[in-house]
Symmetry: C2
Subunit: 414 residues, 2 copies
């Protein structure tokens, strides 16, 4: 493939002396790994866990395109389209709306790193792994963190939140809209107003709910909202979405200290994404291909329409619940009104090891589901019907796989 180059030809060239000296005084001690010489392939798999989900065909096509420059005018156009797509998906008119170059965690950390200064009071709804995660991150930044601990499967009432606000006088409250580790949908109507009454900003994680559950950022008074690409949007993991209300922006822009991260500094990202006038500031090299995919996934949800997508998830998940109950399985979340229409948690059936079931389903049906996570570990199986994957056909495949798994996996009779 490449023309052989004689080492000597380089050595003869007087201009490369530094280079040649380095080559001459060292040698390659680590050889090319054998495994890399094998051809690359990946299995075809139906991803019905809590994410990532399968890419929609149009997103898949975008992933196979060639790179363009991250600061080119074509890329700026793509970024503008993504911003508008996020505004639609979030139902917001916030100018400070953009995509983050990282997964959901990166959006979470971006929100916290910008919103919180050391010593400030931060109130967290900790009814699953995501609130605990937000608390961990906020403590690293030096915030004064108050966890409202509740058992997995529960949510927060307006009254519980009001007590927390009155007691801890936080600058920010964190709630998880779609608690994917427990399967709970946190209601959001009224929480924004309540926070604002207490001079607190409302920060909401919608990584596992966006596009599958009704969500109206502006009307619900959410100050910072973020979400992920790899759940309902069916885009590859590696980007996420975020938006700041004017109130939240004001707090961030009047900070006394710089955020601890340059990469996540929203004042820089705002300039990169053209949220502050026309000129764009070079910041980091954006994940160009992942942004192509995100653009396409936002186009898909705009085409279907949010309300249609919400109803489709609701209907398909209701059908899943029926099928699961038909197999004698119990839903982990007791109150039907707060069951999440994207990720369903099923109590691990008595006598079974959750790992056996998960392994059976992937080994025999090439379907991925997962066990619990954090506080729900060992307690549940998690099944996601996300975006493109939320169809009754997939529910039927899933139910059939589970039926067989229950028959064949070892069961300790108690």
């Amino acid at each position: 493939m490449f023309r052989a180059l004689a080492k000597a030809s380089v050595a003869l060239c007087p201009r490369v002396s530094g280079w040649v000296r380095t080559m001459a005084s060292h040698q390659l001690l680590v050889s090319p790994p054998e495994t890399l010489s094998k051809p690359f392939s990946v299995p075809k798999r139906l991803l019905l866990g809590p994410g990532p989900s399968n890419l929609a065909p149009r997103v898949l096509a975008a992933g196979g395109l060639q790179v363009i420059g991250h600061m080119s005018k074509e890329m700026q156009q793509i970024m503008d389209e993504i911003k508008q797509g996020i505004q639609y998906a979030f139902q917001t008119t916030n100018p400070l709306t953009l995509a983050i170059s990282g997964s959901g965690h990166c959006a979470m950390e971006t929100a916290l790193v910008n919103l919180l200064e050391p010593g400030e009071s931060f109130l967290v709804g900790a009814n699953g792994v995501w609130g605990l995660r937000a608390a961990d991150i906020a403590e690293r930044i030096g915030a004064h963190v108050h966890r409202m601990i509740k058992e997995p499967g529960s949510h927060y009432t307006l009254q519980e939140v009001e007590e927390g606000l009155a007691q801890h006088k936080p600058v920010v409250l964190f709630l998880t809209h779609g608690e994917s580790s427990t399967g709970v949908m946190q209601p959001l109507d009224g929480y924004g107003e309540l926070c604002h009454k207490y001079q607190c900003l409302l920060l909401v994680d919608s990584v596992a709910s966006l596009g599958g559950v009704p969500l109206y950022m502006d009307q619900q008074g959410i100050d910072v909202l973020y979400s992920g690409s790899q759940k309902v949007l069916n885009a590859p993991p590696g980007t996420s979405l975020i938006s700041f209300s004017d109130k939240a922006k004001h707090k961030v822009y009047s900070r006394k200290t710089k955020p601890v991260s340059f990469l996540m500094d929203i004042t820089c990202l705002a300039k990169l994404w053209g949220c502050e006038g026309k000129t764009r500031m070079n910041h980091h090299t954006m994940p160009v291909i992942s942004l192509y995919c995100l653009r396409e996934s936002l186009a898909l949800i705009a085409e279907e329409g949010l309300e249609h997508s919400w109803q489709r998830h609701q209907e398909t998940t209701a059908y899943l619940h029926e099928r699961l109950q038909g197999l004698g399985l119990q839903l982990f979340v007791k109150d039907p009104a707060i069951r999440l229409p994207t990720v369903t948690t099923v109590a691990v059936p008595t006598g079974y090891n959750w790992r056996d079931i998960v392994n059976y389903v992937v080994d025999h049906f090439d379907i991925e589901i997962t066990g619990g996570f954090g506080p729900s570990e060992g307690k549940v199986l998690r099944i996601g019907l996300l975006g493109y994957n939320a169809t009754k056909e997939n529910v039927d495949r899933m139910a059939e796989a589970l039926r067989e798994a229950l028959q064949h996996c070892p069961q300790n009779k108690l």
Copy 2:
């Protein structure tokens, strides 16, 4: 495409009361954006700037594959292959070697966030934008930063570094191997030893040099080395490579404070990447598709061989220099021994505006080059010959485009 769902059908279902209440009390106020309904396409462009570079065909193919679960056993195999590929590319046997889910900046921030604790002394070679960037990040973390400022186009001698080490007693020294904003290749032989004599760790940025310039992490005594995916490796932006020596690992693992970032905490990433025994800890959702691409790009460099790739970059860039000088252009870096064989800086020719030249070349030839960055802004044009793009054919296309640009762009006669 989707079957129409009547709103009423949902409203009739008693189990979705919370959901229906939310839908009933709000409405969609932000409409689907028009621009997203247009079909998506991107221009074919030859990327001869300092990065991103074009994807190699095999990498492009991997980008079009379907997602698998980020914690699946197939993904763990891919991660193991990537680790081995990085060990080869870095010429290291460090077990703490992995890919970062973010661009070069994310690797830089990961290195600093883990290596430095508040109040510690940090010495930075600041002869271009990258040292200044590292200094900015370290200051946010609370380190005590000492910048060795030198003019763009220069490098650091062993003597200069020794003076800095003796004076500031830093715990870490930062050097940029391939200073892509100025076109300088920093020699590295002897710097590791020198640092260790002063109980200092050596941190090196090889984002713009890896694969194009001889580099031997272990033999050169580099303690932390990171690089990017989107330069010589021809993978999409969005992942980067990092490795810690045992000395560096020891410093990180005996920190008194937690790193300010959860996402970049290397003790978590080590457990995710299987660098600490067999069990893997779930951490964040990794950019699955970008990692496929990185795997393929590492396979390509293993196949070609590092020495061959280094020589190819050296030869092709020497040819570029000839062609540029043939057009009457001046190289920005005066000393031929420290010219970078991946990114070449050309002094903006007298009387021309760099923007006119850059625009002419992209508009008429669909070739991307860029102007300067940071301290070199307005002073240079930057031309990259990176990996797959480093061919004499591309140099000829570039030279032809520049020849025409110089003829047609306005020139202010002085």
